[in-house]
Assembly symmetry: C2
Homo-oligomer: 456 residues x 2
């Protein structure tokens, strides 16, 4: 092991946290996992790499963003299929959906459908790093996938899980916006705009360029000014209840696909209003991924931080995967863990109460009596109390400062009571020091583990 | 999103688990994390990539095993420093020590020393996959690192943490073997063998080639037959107590460095005998990494599965890192999580009690009354009981089989008691069905989460 030399500078887009911020990240991941499991989702992890041809078929700009992986020291010839090297064409996955689809097909015979899975892993994208966008980042996904067909009620379930996660962690106020791809599809067809995907792509620019520009882009693409105005009217509809239905009806347009979409979105909203009141809004402007989603779509924003973009999104797709004989439809959402943490930690909105998991620092009176402190620590640990033995038999003041620097709330003094040779424990926040026995002392539950709280 | 097409075959050396085995992996990782935190280690994670020059300076064969990472579509010129591309020379890390050393130097001003950190992450090595060796694998490391000098008592702490982890998870019997690099060093110097590292390298082959071959290799390297015999005698010493000291003394050799080593190993063994009785053995054959470790070394084997190699190893090094002014000595161990799971799952030694986190499947009487089942599930979840609502209002027998296939122990029937319209819950293992209320039903603690147990 040679010591590191040369430059040791961060690499932009690859965030790393100091211990206190890492505690915030861990707590968020714990909440996500616990909530996913409460909702009956099973965990899987997939390998970090996929064959490049599986990754690169996915979309326009994706190729340039894929990080290729190959063993060093290989010659360029190693990349030809003839080399027989199976690592000749690998790339790091850029999301968790592509590997999950492959996993479903690969293991279809050994999975029970409908399969409810969650997956919390890192992914990599070679894009230009900027606020809220990273090149290495953590995603937390849930999907329900079935063989052949997928019941619509699963589309109503997703927002409940998301609302549950975001209610259990101090992300602040959030709103889950939902739409159904069939609404704009049926509406556009009804008013005579047959290029549904093209129209959606233009309407999707609404937030960026504003309604006037969207209208002229639609007209350039062949729409009449009335058609363009109708598209904008549809995109402007938003309701926290079922009001969106009559608002659409008021536009005087009807089409069977539009009706299907309104019914489906009503079902999602009815469930949300009952089980996640105030958290979900029908917003007919949401167009995210509407060119491959086929039903409900979701997009969650943190109130006051909308410019950070969606922190959680997803939708229903009729063909997550297919093995040629069976098609696997699914519905899922993906929480952008790194993006949310980047905001919460970067703006100092959330903080951990300490940087160490230890609740107690067991002081050491002298190096000769270290064994006694080790015994105290063992007794505390066997009762689930995280603790650490002081590194040096320094003066007690120095040992207390050691605890203070890490936010460790208690310092244990073995044999502090000279007459009885019994132990004492000091709450270094209040200064209170009381007699204590390592086999019976109760750590206050709120001090057992670091807390993670909203600042201010 | 296009559906996956083409071959979907596993890539050797990149293991993926089905949900039930993933539960075993999660439990093991939970135990490791909980134990590390009980011992007051702080979590960090580092990025997956490092500049190649930092990785490749590490050892002889390491270079060929590094996976290089670069954006696809770049030309070969992109790899030259002149390209200005900062991903021009990246590799995936092959362990957690190299990135940790870099992290310490990079953040030294913001960390408190001694710094106790744990790190549980994936690493990658482009080696030939074989039993117990993977190309993508998870390591769980702890290290204590200090600035300037590191107190020796930390060397005695490591085996206690390892024993604690392996006692809380059903890995079976294990033995933590310890040695101290100063013992062979002082011994070899005392008998006139000045090429300490060369001698260690030969003695390290003992398990592979046997004592006769080691003796002849030592003699080929210039040792006399008496010197070779003495080396073998030293390597043959093993004791579960302090007996190794007199066994070494009986060889009639003395040297100040040897004395230092015997004292240090005695301190480690004394602590182990008191706080991890029967788990730790002094074994003077252990030579792992003795060319860069400078004090205690550790190597843990699973009893009966020694051929799988060390499942946890580490040691003390005087210079984990250095920034030119300050040197950071450390001591640490690394648990080979993937290797252990490969053994336990591959040989079917350990199993999860179910493949779903759900303790309860809430049955659905009819699609019209699904909302009632969703309400029951919500009430159970708010009380920490993981559950799932049945995907279809099938006949109850079919819904019960759905739970059975996933090992979900309970099925909840809303309104099963016709007269009172109250709910009932069935334990599908015993067939017992009793009245239950979702706001008060107590899930037996042993059924709340899947259990992970030794088979047979």
């Amino acid at each position: 092991m040679s010591a590191p030399t040369g430059r040791v500078t961060p690499i932009s887009g690859f965030p790393e946290y100091l211990p206190a911020d890492r505690i915030v990240e861990q707590r968020f991941l714990d909440v996500i996992r616990e909530t996913f499991e409460l909702h009956g989702f099973s965990s899987i992890e997939t390998r970090s790499i996929e064959p490049v041809e599986r990754l690169s078929a996915q979309g326009e700009d994706a190729d340039k963003e894929i990080y290729g992986v190959s063993r060093l020291g290989g010659s360029p010839d190693d990349w030809s299929p003839a080399s027989g090297r199976d690592d000749a064409r690998w790339g790091l996955h850029f999301d968790l959906t592509v590997p999950f689809a492959r996993y479903v097909v690969e293991n279809a015979g050994r999975l029970s459908f409908p399969f409810r899975r969650y997956q919390i892993q890192k992914a990599w994208r070679g894009e230009r790093p900027q606020e809220g966008r990273y090149r290495e980042f953590t995603q937390a996904d849930i999907d329900v996938v079935d063989a052949g067909s997928l019941a619509q009620h699963f589309e109503a379930e997703m927002p409940l899980v998301v609302a549950d996660v975001f209610s259990r962690f101090p992300v602040g106020e959030f709103v889950i916006q939902v739409n159904n791809r069939k609404i704009p599809e049926g509406f556009y067809l009804a008013i005579g705009l047959t290029d549904v995907v093209g129209t959606l792509r233009i309407v999707d620019k609404l937030d960026k360029v504003g309604p006037e520009n969207v209208a002229s882009m639609l007209e350039e693409a062949g729409a009449s000014s009335e058609q363009a105005a109708a598209c904008l009217a549809l995109a402007g509809i938003r309701s926290a209840d079922l009001g969106f239905v009559s608002a659409v009806r008021d536009l005087g347009v009807s089409h069977p696909v539009l009706d299907e979409g309104l019914d489906a979105l009503s079902a999602v909203m009815s469930t949300a209003m009952e089980y996640a009141p105030g958290r979900v809004v029908a917003d007919l402007r949401i167009a995210r991924g509407l060119d491959y989603y086929t039903g409900t779509v979701y997009e969650t924003a943190l109130v006051g931080y909308e410019s950070w973009g969606a922190v959680c999104s997803g939708g229903r797709y009729d063909a997550l995967a297919s093995d040629g004989r069976t098609t696997y439809p699914g519905v899922g959402i993906s929480i952008g863990v790194s993006r949310i943490l980047g905001l919460l930690l970067g703006q100092d909105l959330v903080r951990a109460s300490r940087s160490s998991p230890a609740a107690v620092l067991v002081a050491v009176t002298s190096e000769e009596s270290r064994a006694r402190s080790v015994a105290v620590a063992g007794a505390l640990r066997s009762r689930g109390i995280p603790c650490e033995v002081a590194p040096r038999a320094d003066k007690f003041g120095k040992q207390i400062r050691y605890a203070e620097r890490r936010g460790i709330p208690y310092v244990w003094f073995p044999g502090a009571s000279r007459e009885t040779d019994s132990d004492e424990i000091k709450d270094i926040r209040s200064g209170d020091q009381v007699a204590a026995d390592a086999t019976t002392w109760e750590c206050p539950p709120e001090d057992l583990h670091p807390t993670v709280d909203r600042v201010g």
